[in-house]
Point group: C2
Chain length 496, copies 2
Amino acid sequence: MSKITLRSLDFPKWYLDIIRECDLAELSDVPGCMVIKPRGYALWETMQRILDGMFKATGHKNAYFPLFIPKSYLAKEAETIEGFAKECAVVTHHRLKLEDGKLIVDPDAKLAEELIIRPTSETIIWKTYKGWVQSYRDLPILINQWANVVRWEMRTRMFLRTAEFLWQEGHTAHRTCEEAEEEATRMINVYRTFAEDYMAMPVIVGRKTKGEKFPGAHHTYTIEAMLQDKKALQAGTSHHLGTTFAQAFDVHFLDSDGQRKPVWATSWGVSTRLIGALIMSHSDDKGLVLPPKMATTHLVIVPIWKNPEERAKVGEVAQSIADGVTAKGFVAYIDDREDKNPGWKFTDAERSGIPIRIEVGQRDLASGIVVLVRRDNMAKQQVAVGEAVDKVVSELGAMQREMLERARQFRQDNTREIGSIQELTEFLDNDGGFAEVFLDTSIDTDVRIRDLKSGRGRDKSLGATVRCILPSSATPGKCIVTGNSTTDRVIVAKAY
Amino acid sequence: MSKITLRSLDFPKWYLDIIRECDLAELSDVPGCMVIKPRGYALWETMQRILDGMFKATGHKNAYFPLFIPKSYLAKEAETIEGFAKECAVVTHHRLKLEDGKLIVDPDAKLAEELIIRPTSETIIWKTYKGWVQSYRDLPILINQWANVVRWEMRTRMFLRTAEFLWQEGHTAHRTCEEAEEEATRMINVYRTFAEDYMAMPVIVGRKTKGEKFPGAHHTYTIEAMLQDKKALQAGTSHHLGTTFAQAFDVHFLDSDGQRKPVWATSWGVSTRLIGALIMSHSDDKGLVLPPKMATTHLVIVPIWKNPEERAKVGEVAQSIADGVTAKGFVAYIDDREDKNPGWKFTDAERSGIPIRIEVGQRDLASGIVVLVRRDNMAKQQVAVGEAVDKVVSELGAMQREMLERARQFRQDNTREIGSIQELTEFLDNDGGFAEVFLDTSIDTDVRIRDLKSGRGRDKSLGATVRCILPSSATPGKCIVTGNSTTDRVIVAKAY
């Protein structure tokens, strides 16, 4: 096993070390694309299983729409062109051929219309919905899709930003603006619940500014997480799309009052980016730290022996604890490999992020105890053999709660109310974290924030962005950009 | 609800009617691509859930590899060029731009190397495995991927053959030829088990002829199903790939004897084509017929009432049966919509393929009974209210078994031992079905079979293909093409 860089020394390098050493993913030769290895993919499968259940519980069904989007679809909606029709993968031909022993693109197989690999599916889905909606009785349509999408990113970062990524995209159609608004807020709250109750990652729910919202959306809700380096990460978004796509693709319905009306839309998505968020929220210098609800193995038992007789004894206890924990619905693994010593096994389990370790040794067993170690705080305790199963279950629950509390405390400790540009610059140049400021969001103040320079050098960008607009303040304050009075409050931070 | 064409009148049209009327899928505007609607996708989700469990139970893990394959990868393996590098989607550019108000492909954004949308992932996966394998200790690698793939098909058929389709592809790496062979046969048997025990679709397991095997494979195992029109459908394949891809991508390992050796490979896959197979195996002129293990709703209860008082009474009984069935682990649905009459609800449930219907009417209830109707044979029976739950459970089991038996009987009734080309032509021109023949597969007799003409017109093809090679016969027979003695037995049939 190789060394993992300390977070305090180089956070971005630590992140890449974790991905490599915990065997989560690797870069491929294909520009901007990664291979998600079994351990990384298992995290995605856990996320999919939980989220899919939450989507179905809120009335959604899964479907599947084509990977390809005709170029003319993208051209239908002006803001879509601006937002998505730029850096994308363009299919122009449908055949290769051998010529003089070389494999070339067959010039005779040029497509009449170029096809774009979906960067997101609003256009093709709304083209399809047109055939599904005639009357108000056909509404709402509540559909989700699990899919791969492609955005041609020049600067990639494992899990956080890759050319191809996996995600889910919900696309719903409604009779009224109010229903669409209700759906958009319902789904951002589903994401919040998932982030907090399962990933143990506290998030702030807010609206994006005009410059940061989804192209064509009325408004966009976001969940923003603070990672261990105090930077913000947009972890999921839910868009109230208004009637933008209904207008672009002529999707109207006959309402009960006999009027022909455009259909209201939402879309919402989270992606494999959540794996990056999970890593950067909790993991430490020893490796992965996973909240129990995200782990596929909850308990590793390491039996320690010197001879076959001892091995039989500790093995029996290990098995009985494993059986007891399995019966409670958790996954236990006994690491009784003969070619590895206990120290190696401890390190291996710590690196993999298994929430709880139990060491079963001959000497402890003589006193009727085993040693239990929690991965998040590395706290060691002695537990009576007969109480081990219950203790594992209660510690898993405690760990899930405490990881969320600890992350919440960390965010609170690194959030500051800021009253001026100068104070903001100093805060982000030095401590870093979330700045809560008054900002008049009715004008393009977000661009002014983005253009701020660091106090450390004339041309260095401060790297600050408005992450989200918070609920309005009861009492107005002074906009840090314009100096005018406003009730708009926002979070400003450096971000991924 | 529109009419469904009778199978006996026009089987292909019946198939399309079922897909449309049961709301499973529709064609999109994108050439060769379909939209899989929620009811169709639910079938795929059921298949995924069951198969994924079977893959994991046999030691496989899921991972994800890039959608894009550099053109040079395809060029590495000669048979891959022949088999897959022809009709495919080619990405040549990575940007669009607006010029004079028109959205065009940016000529400045031409890729240095064209990317192909994966038609199958052997090449990119073996390029990746090269980095994973050094020693025999790194083997085996047992990985599966759930993904979309694209093969530019000119003539498409819903679910059976579309340009983009969804599938799983297993890709394993082994130390020896024997291990690879064991894996390839293990997985074709997993597919057989799935087809028979879950889809109630009997299949014949055999090997493909040289002309029909996977490009570059040592040999290919297939499961072949007989559909209701007596045509064959290849429902899944498992390939022993030998060391073809190890040689092409230089994947070698240091064995325990100190020798550097090439790695042995298998790959295996099933796709959304199985949805087409499921429909054409069991469905009838009334709509979908689903084996209970493939259904998402197992029981529909239709309460029949004339007034609120009756409604309360039948509703109570309906609920108690639904609760009982749910407690047994099945999904029950009470169709108490007020704006539809019972007849409409019966037709709706029949069309959707819900395995069992229970009618709860006031008059029957006075005698303490309800009416139970099984979807597969439409048999009606009166059941005492107190026995309804147990009866539903036992009928679900019986239905699952009997659907398989019935399909097996159908295949047996339509399989014939055939001794000559003339007899084969007559059989396929008239009755149709599976012909079991002696055929010397050591030479290209499969091409001769494919080239056979119908007896009905000089230039009409018979449409016969060798579906698979059966286990060798104990006693030799006469090859129907060459007349030579051979122990090779094959199935010849018309096929999708």
